[in-house]
């Protein structure tokens, strides 16, 4: 009994084998809508494919999805080739996708739209990234197949329009697997040369597959990175590629690109003629203006009536002279007034005046001195007379008048003692009216000697 029971694993394995045996499930061509799309970080894609009534889990391993030309998105209708198998751990049958492409529009179209969106978001198409084309390129680089019609169209047009520029052709594969890297490398190579002023990159017309290289990211990035301005020229009027969006200028055709790359020699000659004309016209105008100006100056009042002008000036001069005289006079009188004042003050200060004054003062002082002397003299005289009178009263002469005499020694000194004189000595005796010269014959001393 027990042997009739299976394990889950065994049953699942059995179911798995059933799936694998079924020829139809090994080779499933399916169309449906993507939902729950998840691109796992390890590279595998997990998604659900559904229509309005059913759904099936699906997986697309990295090994398969690497070649996808587009990034699957929810809501996208796709055409799928793959096989159905069982994922045992989950007991789940699922679709293992080998190939997938968008339904309705081609895969290339989707890839185009997606890359366009991506690069738009990055700003690669921004107008302010565009480099200006040189007006007069000296050296033009052409990136295209050296054997196609495009290169011939470009060269013929360049030669016709602007034969003075040099051209270098960078041969590139413009279709096939190797084309994108070939074009990108040619762009880099041209940039390394450092002498190219402008680049034309393109090819003639063809199917979308043939033009595809110009929708590849590698080419778009090479164009974006170029420091040389690039004119893209892919196919015909109607073909617009990613390269066209990234390029600095888009031309509709290779011939158009050559026309955009260089000015036309006829136009330049026309331009130079125009400028020449303008130079002449302007110069003429300038001269005319100057001549007119000169004429105006010549006709001006001053030139026509120089006498008037002179008269006027004469009058002006007179007025000025008058004013000058007046002013001078004024100054003069002011000055002489000042002079007089100064002189007055000076005379006042003059030394002669001072001398006279001093003299006067001296005379006055002398007179006062004289008077004072007089007074003093008189006074002194009177005093003297008084003294003399007093003296006379006291004078020994008075005494002598009464008979006294005075004896003087030989030496003329007053004899006041007997001891002063020796007998035989000459003495003189003064009496009131003269002197007696005497010899001492004898000396008698008084006895009483108090």
């Amino acid at each position: 009994m027990n042997d009739n029971y299976l394990t889950v694993s065994a049953l699942t394995r059995y179911i798995k084998r059933k799936f694998e045996m079924d020829k139809h499930l090994n080779d499933v061509w399916l169309k449906g809508e993507i939902s729950n799309f998840k691109h796992h970080s390890r590279g595998h894609m997990y998604l659900t494919i559904k229509d309005d009534q059913a759904r099936i889990k699906a997986v697309m391993f990295a090994g398969y999805n690497r070649t996808l030309k587009f990034e699957p998105e929810d809501g996208m209708n796709v055409l799928i080739k793959g096989e159905i198998n069982v994922y045992e751990p989950q007991g789940q049958y699922q679709l293992y996708i080998q190939q997938m492409e968008p339904d309705g529009v081609g895969a290339l179209y989707v890839a185009f739209e997606q890359l366009k969106d991506k690069l738009t978001k990055e700003g690669l198409f921004d107008h302010d990234r565009k480099l200006p084309l040189p007006l007069y390129p000296k050296h033009i680089g052409v990136i295209t197949s050296p054997t196609g019609a495009a290169v011939r169209d470009i060269l013929i047009t360049l030669k016709r329009r602007y034969p003075i520029a040099n051209i270098t052709i960078f041969p590139a594969l413009v279709q096939g697997e190797m084309a994108p890297s070939s074009i990108a490398n040619a762009i880099k190579q041209a940039n390394q040369l450092k002498t190219i002023d402008v680049l034309i990159a393109g090819r003639g017309g063809g199917s979308i597959e043939e033009l595809w290289a110009f929708n590849e990211e590698a080419v778009a990035r090479a164009i974006a990175d170029s420091t040389i301005p690039i004119i893209s020229a892919v196919g015909h009027e109607t073909d617009v590629t990613i390269a066209d969006f990234v390029a600095d200028v888009r031309a509709a055709t290779p011939t158009g690109a050559a026309e955009l790359a260089v000015p036309s020699i006829q136009e330049l000659e026309e331009k130079i003629r125009t400028w020449n004309h303008s130079l002449n016209r302007n110069m003429q105008y300038n001269l005319d203006q100057s001549a007119k100006h000169l004429e105006r100056l010549k006709k001006s009042y001053a030139f026509r009536y120089p006498v008037q002008l002179l008269n006027q000036k004469e009058q002006d001069l007179d007025k000025l002279v008058e004013r000058l005289a007046k002013a001078t006079k004024q100054i003069q009188s002011n000055e002489s007034k000042r002079y007089e004042q100064v002189m007055k003050r000076l005379t006042y200060q003059h030394p002669e005046a001072q001398r006279k004054l001093a003299e006067k003062q001296l005379i006055q002082i002398m007179e006062r001195k004289q008077r004072a002397m007089q007074i003093i003299y008189t006074l002194k005289n009177r005093q003297f007379i008084n003294v003399v009178e007093k003296l006379e009263v006291l004078s020994p002469l008075h005494t002598m008048k009464r008979g006294y005499a005075i004896a003087y020694g030989g030496n003329g000194s007053l004899i006041q003692s007997t001891k002063e004189i020796q007998p035989g000595e000459a003495i003189s005796v003064k009496v009131v009216d003269g002197t007696l010269d005497c010899h001492v014959t004898g000396i008698k001393e008084d006895l009483e000697n108090d």
Binding site: Y136, P163, N166, T168, I169, F170, L279
Partner: protein, 78 residues
Amino acid sequence: MTDKEKEVSFEQAMEDLEAIVEKLEEGEVPLEKAIQYYQQGMELSKVCSNKLTNVEKQMTNIINEQGDLKAFSVQEEE
């Protein structure tokens, strides 16, 4: 071509000429200066014309795999 014409590039000559024309068109240029400009402008326009008429032969080269330049010519269709 004179030496003077050789040393100035066509592009430079064109730019200078345009600048001079603009200056003159603005007016307000003193007469002496204007005459100077005019003479320069005339010389430049002669240089430009000469460069265009006496075209040096256009060089067309192609870069080979070794990165060398080789002369390249296309057969024009009759």
